[in-house]
């Protein structure tokens, strides 16, 4: 596995879409060292910023505080990337397959418009996780994003399919204009969750403020959540679904669209 260790922090963000198993597969270390990265409008080489070591293979490890390194794993279709440290904006944007794991924090646009694969972030994520890029009609259309910490604005904006799990609190506009798919908010979210949602499911395990355009439907334990819980447990995420523990309050909306999305808010039995 090639190991890239960041030597120095670039003075402006480094655009590094070549840091992807698709690009590096079959390349020797010297070829990897010579891959292009862009510092502003200047083309540079990977080894001007990274120490390249290890062996070749379809897995890649990046070490260091790469918070200014953008577009890592862009559009990757397979293989693995492990970031020991932080990663910058657009990590895994447009990815179609494979896996990315980050021990630290990541910037905005994590997995934007991805269609497959899995991203797991140990720390916090920025805004627009799995979102549609500005102007696009459709965001994430498949795959899984798991965030241990908090997330920024517009999580899952215009997402159509796939699952986003945020362990910590999400900021405003989670699920903005969502078209489908599932967002699981482990610690709730700030304001305007599900604004302009057409379809899709937002699950919150904590009480959250709701827009007036969402209306209460019922309190129940949806059957499909058992299936989801079983799937998520294989990824290390636990989702309550047993009626002995509590039930979900279902809200439908957003009536301003008008949409047929849902927000499920978990209510433990004892409270």
């Amino acid at each position: 596995m090639p190991t890239l260790t960041l030597r120095e922090q670039p003075n402006v963000p480094l655009e590094a879409e070549s840091l992807s198993p698709d690009v590096m597969a079959g390349l020797g270390l010297d070829a990897i060292r010579a891959l292009p990265v862009y510092l502003g409008k200047r083309q540079r080489r990977v080894d001007e910023f990274f120490e390249v070591a290890g062996t070749t293979g379809d897995a890649l490890e990046i070490r260091g505080d790469a918070r200014k390194v953008k577009w890592i794993g862009r559009g990757m279709t397979g293989g693995r990337i492990r970031v020991t440290g932080n990663a910058g904006m657009h990590l895994g944007a447009g990815m179609k397959g494979g896996a990315i794991e980050v021990s630290g924090d990541v910037g905005d646009w994590l997995g934007a418009e991805m269609s497959g694969g899995r991203i797991r972030v140990g720390g916090n994520a920025g805004g627009q996780v799995g979102a549609a890029c500005r102007g696009s009609l459709v965001g994430m259309s498949g795959g899984t994003i798991l965030i241990g910490g908090t997330a920024g604005l517009e999580v899952g904006m215009r997402m159509k399919r796939g699952i986003i799990v945020v362990g910590g609190r999400a900021r405003d506009f989670a699920g903005l204009e969502m078209l489908g798919g599932t967002i699981l908010l482990g610690s709730g979210a700030e304001l305007r969750t599900g604004a302009w949602i057409s379809r899709g499911t937002i699950i919150s395990l904590q009480p959250i403020p709701l827009l007036p355009t969402f209306s209460y439907a019922c309190t129940y334990n949806p059957t499909f959540l058992r299936l989801y819980a079983r799937h998520l447990s294989t990824l290390g995420v636990s989702l309550p679904h047993d009626e002995r523990d509590g039930a979900y309050q279902r809200y439908t909306g957003d009536a301003a669209v008008p949409g047929r999305g849902e927000i499920l808010v978990w209510k433990p039995r004892d409270s």
Partner: protein, 542 residues
Amino acid sequence: MLRITGGTVHDPANGVLGVVQDVCIADGRIVPKVEGGRSIDATGMVVFPGGVDVHTHVAGAAMNFARGITPENYRRAIRFIQTPDRRAGLGGITPTTFATGYMYAGMGWTTVNEAAVPILSARHTHEEMHDIPILDKSSLVLMANNEIVLDLLEAGEVERARQVVAWLIWAAKAYGVKAVNPGGIVAWKSGKNAGALSEPVEGYRKVTPGRIISGLAGIIDDLKLPHPLHLHCNNLGIPGNVGTTLETMKVLEGRRAHLAHLQFHAYGGDGWGTLRSEATALAEAFNARTNLTADAGAILFGDAMTVTADGPWEHVLHQLSGRKWSNVDVENETGCGIVPYTYKERSLVNAVQWAVGLELLLLIDDPWRIFLTTDHPNGGGFWRYPELIRLLRDADYRRECLKRLPPKALERMVLPDLDRQYSVSEIAIITSAGPARALGLSRKGHLGVGADADLALYEEKPAAGRMFEYPRYVIKAGEIVVEEGEIRAVTQGREFIARPAFDEQIEAYLRPLFEKVYTMSFDNYAVELERLAQPDIHPCRP
């Protein structure tokens, strides 16, 4: 100096239909013979006059607005990376200025006519056209909703209207006049539209769309402009609009006119559910009226960008498609609407539209009067013209494509019954010789001695449709600009402008009107001739 030897020359304007002969070039023009210089062995290639696009939208405020509201299109567009002699740019459905030049030239087209310029944004348009390399350009100004002109028609002051029109053309440094939805955009400013040709336009008592059309067409003929009235008829895109188009043709009797993007004006039915092709009826009427030319405005399935001065139509399209929408008011002159749109094979309406464009090209007998366009970017990007050529050249391929359409759509078109296939020379007519003649560009669209040395060389291929996918060589003003699909030289094209005669005294009439109604001062309104890098003035002598 350059000599092209051994190629099969198609120069229909001079009656040369596929003859192997040499073409000699010196000082940017075609000459009888040259001594020395470079020579290109064109054996096995066809030699065409460079393509001329009679109706396209490549520069100006509306295009810039369209680019601005669709950042998503550029993320998947072709990129032109900066090189020492080539500027950076992005392709896609609304390419940036530099990319527009590279892409047109890369396809073998060397002259384009920007078909819709509000006079208020003429300066901006000229600046952008300056940044479109290689190509020669001309532009048409929007006039059919200009309230100063309409007020004069209302008052019956035709002579003064003629002076104003001439002054406005020269002020905009334009080449001709475009009329878009006559009266409809004026009405749109009150939330209405103009559909019937004989009903007064909202806000007027006497002026009707029919009166605007005949008035402008007459003025343009009287001014001896090289290109006749370029007309976007009323009721574009609306089911059943063929009636309006046929009536418009009657109104134009005795006048020259060019009907733009005819495909969008050839529908029958009384609603979206009953939309059908009326290409047969329209083509029949058109065939009988030799005072008219038209361009196809064909659509191709996939992404497009609808940009038009026809504001009310764009509002309809926004409501139908749910896509994003911009509406722009251009003071007293016109309006503008923009909606990105995707034509889908499985859509009944889109399938019929696709067929209508091809039907018109196949049913109109005289290739000198119908030209190849997609109304770029409205029906599809100009860089998709080779796809359209393939559809015209290959009836079997057309039938293959028809199989993918909804069966119900096939009952509403005549395309499955049409067997006509365009010959190579006919392609040269609809892409170059015809549009050049319609535009009155005497040195374009042919390879006779004295013509501009704009040529495209395509490799002859056995498959009828695929020959025009990309040229082996493109020569612009005698310079090889494209070779083997690569841009070799980036040259600066010329801008054709017309100078109709007018009495300078007309400024005394216009100045107080401007001070009253325009946000811009009269002295800043006209584009100075010095603004144009290489103007080529057509004097319009009576």
